[in-house]
Every structure is written in structure tokens, then in C-alpha cells.
């Protein structure tokens, strides 16, 4: 073939049929597209779409003691008791309970409750759930800690035997969900498959609970679709016909999804976007204090700090130094500039909403830089000293910014603080190895009780007591608090323990951070103080 054929009529002739075929194919393709259904969703009824920054870790309620996961699973599985709109304990699978003596609790099971597969709830399921929850590989062992046995009385009654008096039993078991024995046995998933094992586990990807919603489809990290359980025992308050959950990690994308109307609700809202979302018209931000408290910890144990210019002694062992640091921190400035107003400054390690909180004690020492300098001089550090400050940068709301502000405020009092901000995995590894001199941590007790917070971070030698705070009087009070049944006496003990700790400045409390949920204005949701979200109260207009 010679390539000099200029406009090449032959060329055009051979090209035309191809073009026609192309066009036919294109039409067929576009036609097929139009015929296919669009995005998933029921044609009638209300589809609720929501998003969180990370996915549910597992569908097995004994796999992972993580607040978000357990909160999500409460839509599917339920415990003997549950938390109401104000976090109060209310009957769920048990209709009533009574104590018989100091250590036996008798629960009446709700009649007529069925799991999603239609099988009825029996006392055997409760006993199985107890055995499974306390098995070696379970991650929710602390919830049933102190329960010695669960036994059947008759077909609708069970008894829980505790190891001595357990005043907060009901609080502890609210997130211990009852699972069906037969279903777990049938799917060979009785054993809670612990992290890192090779066996496949049916229950991490499937669920069969008694709760108001059932899993329709689940793709980990992509989306999870839930539909209402038509046979739910309780009166249905929500009006959702299908609920679609998608994790969206990037803050800006999550905000865009809400603003563009693709999402009905998402959380957490980045604090710097709160004003913009509130001004956007059809979306609003719900903000309430969270029960999590953010605080600073000191190495109070070593005779010489690991990361400091002071050699031969530990300046943090001197209470005056700790008080100087306390008074150097301008908590109002942190609230206004770092937290955009979304925090509640605190003087205690627990906030409102936690059993044992005492407003009378919740008075911070005043912010006073002159006093700080004086205290440091009295303690023998007129020129301050160097110390390294360990901080997470992806765990709490604006955690790194808080640490930067603290660093600058301590500098005003004369302390040279080197900030070491890193990802939570590294941070927690470092501080739990007690490889720290000064650090930031936050704590929410799952049982919403002061005793849990203190026994994890303030009791001598406890696991998250990373600085080694120790006060024998507090330890003694904690033992009494664990078993005291009379609420008034118990509160007196709690107040005394908190007062002692406050006197010591064992930890330096900062604030309770605020929850921020972005919600369409025509959707009603209930915001719980532990930042969990329940579908059962969602009303869409």
C-alpha cells in the first residue's frame, strides 16, 4: 500500500461501518446503564446513611472492647440491661431483677424474645454468653469480672452469683450482649477467635442478635447495610427502613458527604468546621460534653527522670513542681483557642455523667504564672528545667494542638518542654512501658463509674498508671468503693478518694472534650455521652 492517497476516499468508506457499530454499541451501553438500578436503597421508606471515621472492627461482640464497635453492635445485639437516652440503666432482655443476699442477683428474662433467625432466647443462651465472655480469648472479660457463676432457675429466670457485693454490676453488664448458643455452635464459632489467629470466624462477619436491626450485607471498611428487625420485642421508635453505614476516614471528605446530602449524619465533626456546617442551612452540629477526661501524667516513681536535664533527683516528686505546672496552664485559653469552645475544663479525673462525680470538688487551682514561678523557685528550680512531653497526635480531639499549647504555657513559667507527638500506637507503647517522664492520656470508663477509672490509672501498680502514682489511702478507699452497696456511703468514699488524689495532684486534669455530630436538620438522633450512636431513636422527616 502506498501512503500517498491524500484524503483517501477508500479510507472513509472502510471507516464508516466501524463508526456505525461503535455508535450502536454506545447506545446499547448507555441504554443498559439507564436500565440498571442506581445507588442501593429502598424505593419506598426512609434510608438512613451515616458515617464514622473508622469501621466497626468486628461483628462479634466479644472480640474487641472498643467503644465505637460495641456501640454499633448494640443495634444488633442486646444485654440483660441497656442504656437509655440519658445513659440510665433500663431493662432490656431482663424485665426485672432483685438481689438475694449480698452476692446473688436474680434476673427475669423477657418472655417472647427471639433472635434474628427466629430461635427463642433461653437461660442457656445467657449461661453460654457468660462462659464465652469470660473465655481466655474474649476481649470483654472485664465486663463479667467478679461474676462467679450464672445459673438457670427456671425457663425464664437466671441468677448471677458475684464474688462479694457488686454495687456496679448493672453498669458493667450493659455492654455484655447475650448471644445465641445454638447459632454459635452451629457455625463453629464458640471460641472467640483472638487477634492474629489463622482460623476463619463466622461471627466476625455475620450476626444473629435480638436487637432492633439486622445485618443485611457487610463489606469490611466499605459499607454495612442494616434493616429493621420486624420481630423486635420493644416498641419501635425509629422510622428507618434501611440504614447504611460507611466509614470515611478523611475529615474533609466526611464533611463534604454531609454537606452534599449524601449522608444524613456523620461524626466526629472536625472542630474547625463546626461553624461552617451550622451556617450551611440544612445541616447542624450537635455538641455535648463527652464522658472522656483528658489529663497529664508525671513520672512519680523513678528517682531520676529518663528525659530531663535534672540529674540525681526527680523534680516531679515535689508537689510544688506539679502545682507550678498546674497553675501555669491557662485552661480557658485551651478551651477557646484549641478546642473552639468545645471542652469542659475540669479539676477531676471524671466528669458529669460518671457515677461518683462531685461538682463541689470540681474547682481548678487558678491560672497564675507568677505563682508558678514562685513555686518552682521554692522547689529549687528558679530557672526551670528541661523535660520531654509525650503526646499522641491521632487519638483525642486536637490532642497535638493541646500539647503544643501546654508546651508554650509551661515555657512561660520557665520550663523547657520538648514535645514528642506521635501516632497513638507508638505513644501507647511508650507510655505503657513506663518509658516516659511526662505524658498526655484520656480515659472513659466503660461502666461509667469512678471506680473503673481509678482502678485503671490511680491504683498502685495498675496497668495504665504509667507514672506510678501511689497513695495507700486511695488504694484502701478503692477496695471499699468496690464492695459498698449503699449509694450514699459509696459516694462519701468516692469523694474522699478523689479529694485525696486532687490534693496530691497525682495527675493534672485538663478537660472533658465535647462530642460533635453533624446531622441533617430534618433528622432526629439521640447523642449519648460515650459517643455511641443508636439507630433505634432515629426519626427522619
Amino acid at each position: 500500500m502506498v501512503n500517498t492517497d491524500i484524503s483517501g476516499k477508500g479510507n472513509v468508506m472502510t471507516r464508516r461501518p466501524v463508526g456505525r457499530w461503535m455508535r450502536v454499541a454506545m447506545f446499547a451501553f448507555v441504554g443498559a446503564l439507564l436500565l440498571l438500578p442506581g445507588a442501593a436503597g429502598g424505593a419506598d421508606g426512609k434510608v438512613f446513611r451515616w458515617s464514622f471515621q473508622s469501621d466497626v472492627l468486628t461483628l462479634d461482640p466479644y472480640h474487641n472492647n472498643e467503644t465505637m464497635t460495641l456501640g454499633f453492635l448494640n443495634n444488633i445485639y442486646e444485654g440483660l440491661v441497656r442504656r437509655g437516652k440519658k445513659m440510665e440503666i433500663e431493662p432490656a432482655l431482663a424485665t426485672e431483677w432483685s438481689t438475694r443476699g449480698a452476692d446473688v442477683w436474680r434476673f427475669k428474662l423477657r418472655p417472647g424474645v427471639k433472635f434474628h433467625d427466629g430461635s427463642p432466647l433461653t437461660p442457656e443462651d445467657v449461661i453460654f454468653s457468660y462462659e464465652r465472655a469470660r473465655s481466655e480469648t474474649s476481649d470483654i472479660k472485664p465486663f463479667v469480672d467478679g461474676i462467679k457463676a450464672v445459673r438457670k432457675v427456671d425457663d425464664h429466670t437466671i441468677e448471677i452469683v458475684t464474688d462479694g457485693p457488686r454495687p456496679i454490676l448493672l453498669n458493667s453488664i450493659a455492654r455484655w450482649y447475650i448471644v445465641p448458643k445454638a447459632w454459635f455452635e452451629k457455625h463453629n464459632t464458640v471460641k472467640v477467635h483472638k487477634l492474629g489467629t489463622a482460623e476463619t470466624n463466622y461471627a466476625t462477619l455475620h450476626a444473629n442478635g435480638t436487637g432492633p436491626f439486622m445485618i443485611k450485607t457487610r463489606q469490611p471498611d466499605v459499607q454495612t447495610v442494616l434493616v429493621p428487625n420486624p420481630g423486635w420485642w420493644d416498641r419501635t421508635e425509629h422510622n428507618v427502613s434501611e440504614a447504611i453505614f460507611r466509614p470515611i476516614k478523611a475529615d474533609a471528605t466526611r464533611v463534604a458527604g454531609l454537606l452534599s446530602g449524601e449522608l444524613d449524619m456523620m461524626y466526629p465533626v472536625p472542630l474547625q468546621d463546626v461553624a461552617r456546617i451550622n451556617n450551611s442551612g440544612n445541616v447542624q452540629v450537635l455538641q455535648n460534653p463527652e464522658v472522656r477526661t483528658i489529663f497529664l501524667g508525671f513520672d512519680l516513681h523513678r528517682d531520676e527522670l529518663l528525659y530531663s536535664s535534672v540529674k540525681g533527683k526527680n523534680p516531679f516528686k515535689d508537689r510544688r513542681v506539679r502545682q507550678a505546672m498546674y497553675q501555669a496552664i491557662d485552661i480557658k485559653a485551651i478551651r477557646e483557642k484549641v478546642m473552639f469552645g468545645a471542652s469542659r475544663p475540669t479539676a477531676l479525673l471524671i466528669g458529669p455523667g460518671i457515677t461518683g462525680f462531685d461538682p463541689a470538688l470540681d474547682q481548678r487551682l487558678p491560672h497564675d504564672v507568677a505563682a508558678s514561678k514562685r513555686l518552682l523557685a521554692d522547689a529549687g528550680y528558679p530557672n526551670g528545667f528541661d523535660v520531654t512531653f509525650d503526646c499522641p497526635n491521632d487519638r483525642y480531639v486536637n490532642d497535638e494542638s493541646i500539647c503544643q499549647a501546654v508546651t508554650a504555657m509551661l515555657a512561660r513559667a520557665g520550663l523547657k518542654v520538648r514535645l514528642n507527638a506521635q501516632t497513638k500506637a507508638k505513644h501507647f507503647q511508650k507510655i505503657t512501658a513506663k518509658d516516659t517522664s511526662f505524658y498526655l492520656l484520656g480515659w472513659t470508663p466503660a461502666s461509667l463509674d469512678m471506680h473503673e477509672t481509678f482502678s485503671y490509672i490511680a491504683a498502685t501498680g495498675s496497668q495504665w498508671n504509667c507514672g506510678g502514682y501511689s497513695n495507700p489511702k486511695v488504694d484502701g478507699l478503692l477496695k471499699e468503693i468496690a464492695t459498698e452497696v449503699d449509694p450514699r456511703k459509696r459516694q462519701t468514699l468516692i469523694t474522699e478518694a478523689m479529694r485525696l488524689h486532687k490534693e496530691d495532684i497525682g495527675y493534672l486534669p485538663l478537660h472533658q472534650q465535647a462530642l460533635a455530630w453533624g446531622v441533617k436538620r430534618n433528622v432526629d438522633v439521640v447523642q449519648l455521652g460515650d459517643n455511641t450512636f443508636s439507630l433505634r431513636w432515629v426519626r427522619m422527616q
Binding site: G38, L195, G196, T197, K249, T253
Partner: protein
């Protein structure tokens, strides 16, 4: 030829071994997976038990040898976070990334080459100058910013396209495709542009400069002297000769499009392997991170190898006078 192929394959194997060892070193330097996996309330004894079960208490050399041997057979172990085989998780996410990469490369080629040709032929027109500005923007703006700007414009302000996710997908065996539904296609547009923008501007600049050079060559002058039409000269001769480097660059860029979809996928919550990698980093899921690194290393090595061999095959000069030109081309 055979010696050349064998030597390239040997070199590639060495590269892969090094990449695999680097991936393994992750297990030692990116934080404690046991802490990331367990809750704050897990006891010290439980943690130690888990550490032993994961094989994290063995000697480093033993762990390294075990890792390399398993990686060679495609076994990257079990994800710490999801408790599923890593290979299975990657296979599940790969279609999303490959489809996104395909769309972005088609976008880059389909838009970049015509823009490059136009700005070479009409160098002084205002449109060519506008293209230059666009290419500067594409080269200099980071993808996360481009992505967020596109989301803001097309999803939030105009509401035409979805802001994130893959839309509805159709399963074809183990492959899931977003090409077969309207929401799937709509979802591909913004991330496809975001991911392809850099390659597009790169191709445009490359085609433009190659084309300008080609237009100055003797064979183009000769073609004109023969009285050929502009069209034949431009597209039959000049463009055809510029395409060799374009093919090479596209091939190599395809590797980086697949590997560096991480940012685009994170911005658009695209359920591909890049986003999976980011999630793995956040939860210190080292098996997934290591497998991703090895896989990306493998993609690069294979593409480089194929490009080298293709070059050898396409360019007749290389075959005829390998001794003379090999130094420059390989």
C-alpha cells in the same frame, strides 16, 4: 537477547529480595501491633500470650527468613486487624484500584496527548497558553488538594457527582466492577481525574516538547517537500515518532498510578489497596503494610522489566547495534 533477559531478571530478583527485607523490617520499627490490637484494658499476660502466638518473640533472623520464604509463595500471613489472609484482602481490593488507575490513565492519555499536540502546533495561540497554565497547576498542586477542590465544586456546590465511595458495584466472579452501574461510573469521574491529572500534564508537556523537536527534524521537512498534507505530516510522521517515549513514560507512570493511588483513595474513601494501606498504617497492621510494599515493588519491577524488553523489541536500532546503544537505553 537471552543473556540480556536473564541478566534483567536476575537484577529484578535482587531488587525484590531487598524490597522484601525492607518490608520485613517494618515489623520491627513501626510500633507495637499487640498494643494496637488489644484494648486499653487487656492485661499484660494476655498481651504476652498474643505476642508469642504472632511469632513476635522469635529471633529476628528467624522471623526474617520465615517472612521472605512465605512472601515468595504469596503468603503474607493474617491481617492483625481483620483476621483474614492478607492475600485475600488485597485481591478483594485490587479491582477497585485497577479500575481507578485505568480510568485515570485513559483520562491522561485521552486529554494529555491532544493537548500536547495542539500546543505544539499552535504554540502561540491563547488556548495553548491556557494549556500551559493548566499543566503548571496539574504539576504543582498535590492530589489531596485537587481532590478536595473537585469534591467541593462538583459534590458540595453543584451536587452532580458523589463525594466519596465507589457507588454500586457488580460482582463478576472475584472481580467487582463499577463500570456497569450509573452510580459506579459517576463515582469514578472525580477520583479518576484527581489521580490522572499529574500524568495528564506530564504527558502533555512531553508530547509538546517531543512534537516540537520532531517538527524541526529533516524527515518532517522532507515530508513537507513531498507535498504531503499537514495532517499526514503531523499525525502520520511527527506524532508517530513522538509516541515511543510516550509509551515508555505511560508504562512507568502506570506503576506509580497504581502505587500512589494512596492519597486519592484516602480523599475519596475509595475501597482500593492504597486506602487499605493507609488503614493498615493507622492500626499498625504490619502484614498488610508489608504485603503492600512487596506488591508495589513487584509491580514496579515487572513494569520496568517489560518496558526494557519492549524497548528492545520496538527499537530496531537496539537490536542491530546493541553494543553501541545499550548503555544509553538501559
Amino acid at each position: 537477547m537471552l543473556a540480556f533477559v536473564i541478566s534483567r531478571i536476575l537484577q529484578s530478583s535482587v531488587v525484590m529480595l531487598v524490597v522484601t527485607l525492607i518490608a520485613f523490617s517494618l515489623f520491627r520499627y513501626v510500633g507495637d501491633p499487640v498494643l494496637a490490637m488489644t484494648g486499653q484494658e487487656t492485661s499484660v499476660e494476655d498481651r504476652e500470650r498474643l505476642r508469642t502466638r504472632l511469632g513476635l518473640s522469635d529471633a529476628v533472623a528467624v522471623q526474617a527468613a520465615r517472612f521472605v520464604a512465605r512472601a515468595a509463595s504469596g503468603d503474607f500471613g493474617i491481617s492483625f486487624r481483620q483476621r483474614r489472609p492478607v492475600a485475600e484482602m488485597l485481591a478483594e481490593r485490587l479491582p477497585a484500584t485497577l479500575e481507578l488507575s485505568l480510568v485515570s490513565v485513559v483520562f491522561a492519555l485521552g486529554v494529555g496527548i491532544p493537548m500536547g499536540v495542539y500546543s505544539a502546533l499552535r504554540r502561540d495561540s491563547w488556548l495553548a497558553r491556557a494549556f500551559q497554565v493548566v499543566s503548571l497547576v496539574g504539576i504543582s498542586l498535590p492530589p489531596f488538594l485537587v481532590g478536595i477542590l473537585l469534591i467541593f465544586l462538583f459534590a458540595v456546590l453543584l451536587g452532580w457527582l458523589p463525594s466519596s465511595g465507589r457507588g454500586a458495584v457488580v460482582s463478576l466472579g472475584w472481580w467487582t466492577s463499577g463500570f456497569l452501574t450509573l452510580s459506579g461510573l459517576k463515582s469514578l469521574i472525580l477520583p479518576g481525574i484527581t489521580l490522572g491529572l499529574y500524568q495528564m500534564t506530564l504527558l502533555m508537556r512531553l508530547v509538546r516538547s517531543e512534537m516540537l523537536e520532531a517538527l524541526r527534524t529533516d524527515y518532517v521537512k522532507f515530508a513537507r517537500a513531498r507535498g504531503l498534507t499537514n495532517r499526514t505530516v503531523y499525525f502520520g510522521h511527527a506524532l508517530r515518532n513522538t509516541l515511543v517515549p510516550v509509551i515508555t513514560v505511560t508504562g512507568l507512570q502506570l506503576g506509580s498510578v497504581i502505587a500512589f493511588a494512596v492519597i486519592t483513595e484516602t480523599v475519596f474513601q475509595w475501597p482500593g489497596i492504597g486506602y487499605q494501606f493507609i488503614q493498615a498504617v493507622a492500626s499498625v497492621d504490619i502484614p498488610v503494610m508489608a504485603a503492600y510494599l512487596v506488591m508495589v515493588g513487584f509491580i514496579f519491577v515487572v513494569i520496568n522489566l517489560v518496558a526494557d524488553l519492549l524497548y528492545f523489541w520496538i527499537d530496531p536500532r537496539l537490536r542491530a547495534e546493541r553494543v553501541v546503544t545499550a548503555g544509553r537505553l538501559t
